[in-house]
């Protein structure tokens, strides 16, 4: 069969080209390769990125003319399966591949596609998302960052916040207000902005977990060429929303590819103890089963959505349940880990605590943000109530 040949050849090529160091899947998002000019990656990671990018396999289904792999959905599935079977880490991740790239493919002008897609495939440019503002969180369409036309440029002034990896990114896709007369959703424009432009100042925000994955980005008289508008001026809200739906599915998917499924049980055996081969505390044991069974149901629901899409059903607003449920389930899992550790989860740093214990604590703190970022749980519930259930305003 053709598919079998492709699978065989793919596997052979992967084995021949993957450096030994990339066989272990990364344990955290920070260990992934995000590309970009501002981060240096270990040689093997860089080599893995380069060989895969050369074949376009960092973006397997994108057209070859933009540097992609030009694979069919079926071939891309085979490639993903073989990568998973070999336990190879993905060569590249980030918002270029998962968010702005797909949007440009569907909505971008030929000029924007030519300019931006190939560098994304090669991992040369790392992207960040300029959506939230201090005054526009859940009410995203209330954003106030202003862009005023001046010749061939827009001059942008304002402030973005909760920009993931804003200090490490090379370019930002940003929502700005180009018309203050229009209704709230009508005056928004979707721009592409080089982070090296004078007037752009990212500043990391320290979180309760101690980490700083988010930035504030200050924008002062930043000149962005008009040719960097995606879609049409004042027509950005539709694009922004399309991307948000995408982001929500991505967030839920991220929680699917979780740690080893045995981890809760192994931790419980060590910290809570065993009796007759069972986790000794029946309450903890029941809660582990609850979390794992809820996870199974979420995974099955994601699989059902994919099977449905394959059968030609259009994905709808029901994907909001993935974001809602996936994030809250992850929070329950992280919290349960802390409870299993007991007093050993009280460490912040230093002696008396293992690295793994410290990580459990910080991961729990970080997880509290899951139901806030990318649209709070309450916003997801509003979307379901309105768009799926048709409840009145």
């Amino acid at each position: 069969m053709v598919a079998d040949t492709f699978r065989e050849e793919t596997r052979r090529w992967l084995v021949a080209n993957a450096p030994a160091a990339v066989y272990a899947p990364p344990r955290t998002a920070d260990e992934l390769c995000w590309g970009g000019k501002k981060t240096r990656y270990p040689d093997d990671v860089k080599r893995w990125l380069d060989v895969m990018a050369e074949r376009g396999w960092t973006a397997p289904t994108w057209p070859r003319e933009y540097g992609g792999g030009g694979l069919s959905a079926a071939e891309a599935k085979i490639l993903a399966e073989e990568i998973a079977k070999l336990r190879l880490r993905p060569p590249l991740t980030g918002f270029g591949l998962s968010m702005i790239g797909p949007l440009l493919l569907h909505e971008g002008s030929e000029e924007l596609k030519q300019a931006h897609l190939p560098p994304i495939v090669r991992g040369e440019i790392r992207w960040c998302q300029g959506y939230s503002e201090p005054g526009a969180g859940s009410d995203l369409a209330g954003l106030q960052t202003k862009a005023v036309r001046d010749g061939d440029d827009f001059v942008v002034n304002g402030q973005k916040i909760w920009t993931s990896y804003g200090d490490k990114a090379d370019w930002m896709f940003i929502l700005v207000r180009t018309d203050f007369e229009e209704a709230k959703h009508g005056g928004i424009t979707f721009l592409l902005m080089d982070m090296e432009t004078p007037g752009v100042t990212p500043r990391p925000i320290r979180l309760i977990s101690g980490a700083s994955p988010f930035c504030e980005v200050f924008l002062s008289d930043v000149r962005v060429p008009v040719r960097n508008v995606v879609g049409r001026v004042n027509g950005g809200w539709r694009l922004a929303k399309a991307l948000l739906g995408h982001e929500r599915t991505m967030i839920a998917d991220a929680f699917k590819e979780r740690d080893d499924a045995r981890r809760l049980v192994d931790m419980a055996r060590r910290y809570v103890g065993e009796a007759d081969g069972r986790v000794a505390d029946p309450v903890i044991r029941d809660r582990i089963a609850q979390v794992e069974m809820d996870q199974a149901c979420l995974d099955l629901t994601l699989a059902r959505a994919r099977d449905g899409a394959k059968a030609g059903h259009r994905p709808g607003p029901e994907s909001s349940i993935f974001k809602l449920y996936g994030t809250e389930l992850n929070q329950r899992r992280r919290s349960l880990m802390v409870e299993i550790l007991g007093p050993q989860a009280l460490g912040w740093e230093g002696p008396g605590f293992e690295d793994e214990e410290l990580k459990v604590t910080r991961d729990w703190l970080r997880s509290r943000g899951n139901s806030i970022e990318g649209g709070t749980s309450e916003i997801q519930l509003n979307i379901i109530a309105k768009r799926v259930l048709g409840l009145p305003d």
């Binding site: 089963a289 449905g308 048709g390 409840l391």
Partner: protein, 382 residues
């Protein structure tokens, strides 16, 4: 196998939906509950269901079945659940016919399966006991050897449709202690055999069950289903398949409960606006929707796992995940349904209460959520 219905299954679903809406109604369900109908279900409807082929969906073609799978059965069960149909699908087809199919001899299958598919014979599985709670292998009913056969003695409870069954399949202990999986034997018992006393039970959901007392009932070796002492494993295989079908029925019932509640939120006006415009109710409705979708995935997966011919442990796990989920989700949706209906939801006149009662009965049938979480933990080795 994908988690998506085929075109044929969608058609079957449509037929079943129209059948339930057109031939049954909650009014009929009420009159069966409130009247003194000796059967508690409609034999005429049962015959129609047989003619549609539904009683034989999972039965082999050589026994006049359709030879289809559990995914096909699932769509019919869901629609029956939508209408709270009391007809004896679970007892006769899922428990009775399956016990014959998975444990019976060729002669036993030949004798009973075709009449079952034709709607001419009703079966019941008498496995539950006063002290067994949710453990199917907890069997205190004794089968004592006597002259080449056995004498059965014990008490069975919640025997679904036991009051109308033409044959009872009884689990009895031929050896071992009350909790052992080994030492259980299944017997095919006539309800008119000596020492058998069947007493109809009245349950909160109005569905039909009976007490079965066995007082020195003789059973010869032709009445044994499968092997002596080896009935425990087939019993689990049977109850797992019945549990899967019950989760599909529950899915239909909870969908009806949910739809009824959403309708009410859109039409009930207080403070001059539909109460569905209040965020306190919207958010709870949205969470119910998420629970419903997750339950649907788990139910489909359980049926698919059986159809794929996976091993007993895989089927057990998938079924337990589905039963835990549907038990919790149905209770949540029914409780919230009554709450959101307010005072009218507390009246017997309103239908929402029928669904709350069914949620409780279904939750307690074949093990509640905690029972199935315990089972998954055991299967997963912790």
């Amino acid at each position: 196998m994908d988690l998506v219905l085929s075109a044929e299954q969608e058609l079957l679903q449509q037929t079943a939906r129209e059948f339930v809406a057109g031939r049954s109604s909650l009014k009929r369900v009420r009159s069966l509950r409130d009247g003194s109908d000796p059967d508690g279900f409609s034999r005429a409807l049962w015959t129609e269901m047989a003619r549609l082929g539904w009683l034989g969906i999972i039965l082999p073609v050589e026994h006049d079945g359709l030879g289809l799978g559990y995914m096909d059965l699932m769509v019919v069960m869901e629609e029956l659940g939508r209408g709270l149909m009391p007809e004896p699908m679970l007892s006769t087809v899922l428990l009775g016919a399956n016990a014959l199919l998975l444990g019976g001899s060729a002669e036993q299958q030949k004798e009973h399966l075709a009449p079952i598919a034709a709607g001419e014979q009703l079966l019941a599985l008498a496995h539950q006991e006063p002290r067994s709670r949710h453990a199917v292998h907890h069997v205190e009913t004794r089968a004592a050897p006597a002259g080449g056969g056995w004498i059965l003695r014990g008490e069975k409870v919640h025997v679904l449709d036991g009051h109308v069954a033409d044959r009872l399949i009884v689990s009895a202990r031929t050896s071992g202690a009350p909790h052992d999986v080994e030492g259980i034997t299944l017997f095919l018992v006539r309800p008119d055999a000596p020492g058998v006393r069947v007493t109809r039970q009245t349950r909160l959901d109005g569905q039909n069950a009976a007490l079965v007392r066995l007082e020195d009932t003789p059973a010869d070796r032709h009445t044994v289903l499968g092997e002596v002492d080896r009935g425990g494993a087939p019993l689990t295989r049977v109850t797992d398949r019945a549990t899967a079908a019950l989760t599909a029925e529950m899915l239909g019932s909870m969908t009806a409960t949910f739809d009824m509640t959403i309708d009410y939120l859109k039409t009930r006006v207080q403070f001059g606006v539909p109460i569905g415009s209040f965020q306190a109710l919207k958010h709870r409705a949205a969470r119910m929707y998420a629970e419903l979708e997750l339950a649907r995935s788990a139910v489909m997966h359980a049926h698919r796992t059986i159809d794929e011919g996976r091993d007993d442990a895989a089927v057990a796990r998938a079924v337990s995940v589905a039963k835990a989920r549907t038990s919790d989700a149905f209770m949540l949706i029914a409780n919230e349904g009554v709450q959101m209906h307010g005072g009218i939801g507390m009246t017997d006149e309103h239908d929402i209460g029928l669904f709350l009662k069914r949620a409780r009965a279904a939750e307690q049938t074949f093990g509640d959520a905690a029972h199935h979480r315990n089972r998954v933990a055991q299967l997963d080795g912790y």
